[in-house]
Symmetry: C2
Subunit: 512 residues, 2 copies
C-alpha cells in the first residue's frame, strides 16, 4: 500500500467520504488511489475557491468535514479566501494540499512556494507529511483536529513522494473530544446579571443558532426581559415558521450602534465581543456601548445548547414560549425591490430549504422578512471574504441531497467564484441561484459616502459593473446551467417556483 | 493632504501611472484620492487573480511596475497565484493591499486576516504603513524595491486610517540601483570553459532572452561550438524572423534529460540550475547530467546584456552570425492539430505581436515553429501556477497599446481567471484569445501515466471537462466579448485574421 492509498483508507475510516478536488500533477497518486478504493465521492471544481467554499458549505450542513484536494502552494492560495470564510464560520475541513516531493523541494522548481506559510493564517492545524508510513496517521489526526469543537480547518500538506512511496499504514479513527461546557460560575454570573434589572442583551453566535438553543434563549428572554440579538454572520441558522427568530446586529455602523445603544449589560453566548466590520473615522469599533458590562458566558467552542439549558435551569426553568408567528405572505407582484423580493421568498421558499446568502446590499432587509418562511437553514458568508456564496451553495447541495439550496447572490461577488455553476451542472445539484443584478459594487458606493467622499468619474468607474453589462444567463449556459432573466416579481415568482420542481441547478438573473 | 493622496502623488512621482484594482471598503480613501488626482489609469478587475496577473503582464512589456489595489488579506489571497507567477518571471509590481485600520485590527473583525503572512511568500519586500505621514515615503520605497534588478514584488499594506488621516507627505522618487554586472572572474572562467573542447551548453534565462543578448549568445555559440538552450518559461522573449531563436528545455522529464544529456559543461546565464518541474519516482530532479561541470556565469539579477557582451569580448569578439531563416509558412488547412495550428500562427501572427502562452499540452510544439513568425514577444506563465495566461494578456495589452496580444489558452486553465475577458471588453483591449478546447485536463492524463497509473472512472472523471461541455463563446458573450468557434484550420485562419483588424478583444474557441 502506498501513502496515498493509506490516506484515502484512513480518511474513510475516520468518516470522511466526500472530497472536493482540483488536483494537479503532484496529486496524481492521490487520484489513482481514489480510483482504486471505493467509497469516496469526488466532486471536481474548476477553481480552488469553489473547492474550499464547497467544503465550507458541506461542513455546515453535515457537521462533518469534507476533504479538499488542492495543488501546491498557489492552488492553496486560490482557496484561501473561502478557507478564511470557513474558519470564521467554524466549519470543519480537512484541507489536503499536494506539494513537491520532499527531496525535490530544495531544488526550488517553478511551482515551489511557501505552502505551510500560506496555510497558517487560515488553519487551526498544519502538518506536512514526512513519509509514506506516517500519512495514514497524519490523516487521522487531521480529521480529529477538524472535528475539535467548534469546527476547525486542518491542513495536511502531502509531498508527492509521501503519496507514492510504499509502506502506507491505515490509521484508525481518533477520539474526538466532546465540546467543552461553559463554566458553572459563568452561568451563575449570567443568571445574576439577568436578574438585576438592568437592560440586558444576550448576544448569540454560531452554535446557539439552532432551533433547540434558540427556544431556550427565547424562554430566558421572556422570563427576564432580556433581548436576544445574533452576531451579523452565522454559519447556519435554523429558522422560519415555528422556530424562534432572532434579529442580527446590522452591518452598517450607525444601525449597529443604534441596535445596541440601550443595553447596560451584554451577555455573550458562543461569541466574542461584537465588532463593526470595518473602522470608519470617528465611529466606534464595536456596537457595544462603552459603559456596558460585558460577560462572556460561553465561548465559541463551548456546547451552546448545554450552556443555554444550564442558564434556563439557573433561572428556575422558565416556561417555554411560542415563537412569534407572522402570517405567510403572498408572493409579491409588480416592480422588483428588496422588500418585494423578501416577500416572495418568504412565500415560496420550500420546507427545509438551505439559503446561501451573499446578497450584500440588496439583501439587508431580507433576513427579517424571511422568518415567516417555511422552516429552513440560513448560511451567511462567515468571514466577509467576497465569493463565498456560490461555493457554499454548491457544497451544501452535495451535503444535503433532497433539500433545495437557494443562493441569494449579488452580481459583483458572483464573479469571484462563478465557476461554481459548472460543478452544480456536473453534479446535478438542486441549487437555485438568484443573481441580484444591480450592475455595480453598490456596497462600495455606500462605503464611499460613509467616508465622506463625493464620487467622481474614476471612483464611479471603479464601482460600475455595467460597462459592459454582465449577462449571467449566458455565462451560466456556457457552464451547462440553464437560466432566465426576470425584471418583474411575477416573472421571478414563476421562474423560482419552476426551479423548485426540477432536478438540478437553475439561475435567475433578477434586474434590481 | 491625507495619506491616500500622498500615496497616489508619490506613486505618480516615481513613475507608476497604472493601477490594476479590485478595491473594497477599506480602500475607499485610495479610490477617492484617485478621483481627485489626475494621471493614474485605473483598470478594474472583477477578481484579484486578474489584477495581479495583469500587473505581471504590464511589468513584462513596459519594464516598469504597475500598482495593484487589493482588499485585505483574503483579496490578497485571491491574487497570490499570479503574484507567484510574477515573482518567478521577475516582473516588477507595487502590490498595494488595503487593510483594517491600525486600531481596529486588534478587535479581529471578520475580514481580519494575516495579511503580512499571506504576502511574505510572494513578495521580495513587505511593509505595513504605520501612519499617514509616512505613506508617501513607503510608496517611494515600494517603487524603488519593485525596480531592484531583475524586478521584484513590493507589497505595501495600507491600514485604512493611514489613508484617511491627514498629514500625508509626497515623497520624491528614490534612486534605483543599476543591475549589477557579473564578476569579471566568472566571465573569464566561462570563456576558458568554452575553449576547452568539451561539449558545452549555455543556458539562458529571462534577462538574456532579448534580441541584443541573444545575438551575442549566437556569435559566442558559433565561435565555440557551444549550444544555446533556454530555461522552460521566460517572462518575455524577443524572437521571430530576423532574431536568434533558442530552443527551450522541454517540460516532460524524459525529453528534458535527453535535451541536455550530451553536455559536459553547463554555463548558466541569468538562471539558476535547471530543474524538472515536478519530481517523478526514479527520475532525476534536474536535466543537467550528474557529471557535468556547472558554472554560474551570471545570476538573474545581473545585467545579462553586459555579461554576454563581456563574454564575447573575452572570446576575442567573434563575428556576428545571421539568424537561421526558415521560410514563412502558408496558413494550414484541414483538420485542427497542434502542428497545423503552429503553422497558421507562424503565418498570421502580426508584426510586434505579444503572445501570452498558457497553451499547456496543446502548445508544446508551438514555440519552435513560431520562430518563423514575424518579430514578436513571447510570454510564458512564470511560475506554473494555473490561470496566468488571460490576465497576462490583459495587462500586456494595457501596457502596449497598438500591439496585438494573442493569448494561447488551454481550456482548463482558462477557467481560473476567466473574468479577465470582462476587463478586456471594458478597456477595449486588442487581445485575441484562442481557447484550445480539448475538454479535459490533458496534462494530468499524461502525468497520471507518468506515475504509472492506469486511470479508472474516478480518475478520468476528475480530468474530464466535458460533462457538461464548457462553451467559451457563451461565457465571453456574457462578459461583453465577441467570439466564435472553429473546428477547421480554414475557419480558424479566417477568424484569427479578422480579429487582427478589429479594435478590442475577440475570442476563438478552437476544438482540438
Amino acid at each position: 500500500m502506498n501513502g496515498a492509498e493509506s490516506l484515502v483508507h484512513s480518511l474513510l475510516a475516520s468518516g470522511v467520504d466526500t472530497c472536493f478536488a482540483n488536483p494537479g500533477t503532484s496529486e496524481m497518486h492521490f487520484v489513482a488511489a481514489l480510483d482504486r478504493i471505493p467509497g469516496m465521492r469526488c466532486v471536481l471544481g474548476l477553481f480552488e475557491g469553489v473547492v474550499t467554499g464547497a467544503a465550507d458549505g458541506y461542513g455546515r450542513v453535515t457537521g462533518k468535514p469534507a476533504a479538499t484536494l488542492l495543488h501546491c502552494g498557489p492552488g492553496l492560495g486560490n482557496g484561501l479566501q473561502n478557507l478564511h470564510n470557513a474558519k470564521r464560520a467554524i466549519s470543519p475541513i480537512v484541507n489536503c494540499v499536494g506539494d513537491q516531493a520532499t527531496y525535490h523541494r530544495p531544488l526550488d522548481a517553478p511551482l515551489t512556494a511557501d505552502t505551510e506559510g500560506y496555510a497558517r493564517g487560515v488553519s487551526h492545524w498544519v502538518r506536512t507529511a514526512g513519509k509514506a508510513s506516517e500519512v495514514g496517521a497524519d490523516a487521522a489526526v487531521a480529521v480529529q483536529q477538524a472535528l475539535v469543537s467548534p469546527g476547525q480547518i486542518a491542513t495536511l500538506i502531502l509531498p508527492s513522494d509521501t503519496c507514492w512511496d510504499a509502506g502506507g499504514v491505515v490509521a484508525a479513527p481518533l477520539p474526538v473530544p466532546a465540546a467543552p461546557t461553559a463554566a458553572p460560575h459563568a452561568i451563575e454570573v449570567a443568571a445574576k446579571l439577568l436578574r438585576d434589572g438592568r437592560r440586558c442583551a444576550i448576544v448569540l453566535g454560531n452554535g446557539a443558532m439552532r432551533a433547540g438553543p434558540l427556544a431556550d434563549a427565547a424562554r430566558i428572554a421572556a422570563a427576564t426581559g432580556a433581548k436576544l440579538i445574533a452576531q451579523g454572520a452565522n454559519g447556519r441558522v435554523e429558522r422560519g415558521r415555528g422556530r424562534h427568530g432572532v434579529a442580527r446586529i446590522p452591518y452598517p455602523v450607525d444601525q449597529a450602534v443604534a441596535a445596541m445603544a440601550e443595553f447596560e449589560v451584554v451577555i455573550l453566548v458562543g461569541v466574542t465581543k461584537p465588532v463593526i466590520f470595518f473602522a470608519y473615522p470617528n465611529k466606534p469599533g464595536s456596537p457595544v456601548p462603552p459603559g456596558a458590562q460585558l460577560h462572556a458566558m460561553s465561548r465559541p467552542e463551548h456546547d451552546q445548547a448545554q450552556a443555554l439549558a444550564a442558564l434556563a435551569a439557573a433561572l428556575g426553568n422558565p416556561p417555554a414560549v411560542a415563537p412569534e408567528s407572522s402570517p405567510v405572505p403572498e408572493p409579491a407582484t409588480g416592480a422588483v425591490n428588496s422588500d418585494a423580493f423578501a416577500q416572495s421568498l418568504a412565500a415560496l421558499l420550500p420546507e427545509q430549504a438551505i439559503v446561501a446568502d451573499e446578497s450584500i446590499t440588496f439583501g439587508r432587509s431580507m433576513y427579517g422578512r424571511t422568518q415567516a418562511a417555511a422552516p429552513h437553514d440560513w448560511m451567511s458568508v462567515g468571514g466577509g471574504a467576497i465569493g463565498g456564496g456560490m461555493p457554499l451553495a454548491t457544497g451544501a447541495a452535495v451535503g444535503a441531497p433532497g433539500r433545495r439550496v437557494v443562493n441569494l447572490q449579488a452580481d459583483g461577488s458572483a464573479m469571484y467564484t462563478i465557476q461554481s455553476l459548472w460543478t452544480q451542472a456536473r453534479e446535478k445539484l438542486d441549487v437555485t441561484t438568484i443573481i441580484f443584478s444591480n450592475r455595480k459594487y453598490q456596497i462600495l458606493l455606500g462605503e464611499l459616502a460613509n467616508v465622506g467622499a463625493n464620487p467622481g468619474r474614476v471612483a464611479l468607474d471603479m464601482m460600475d459593473l455595467g460597462n459592459p453589462d454582465l449577462d449571467f444567463v449566458k455565462m451560466a449556459n456556457g457552464m451547462g446551467v440553464e437560466g432566465a432573466k426576470a425584471d418583474t416579481m411575477e416573472r421571478f415568482n414563476d421562474l423560482f417556483a419552476a426551479s423548485l420542481t426540477r432536478k438540478g441547478p437553475f439561475l435567475i438573473e433578477l434586474a434590481t
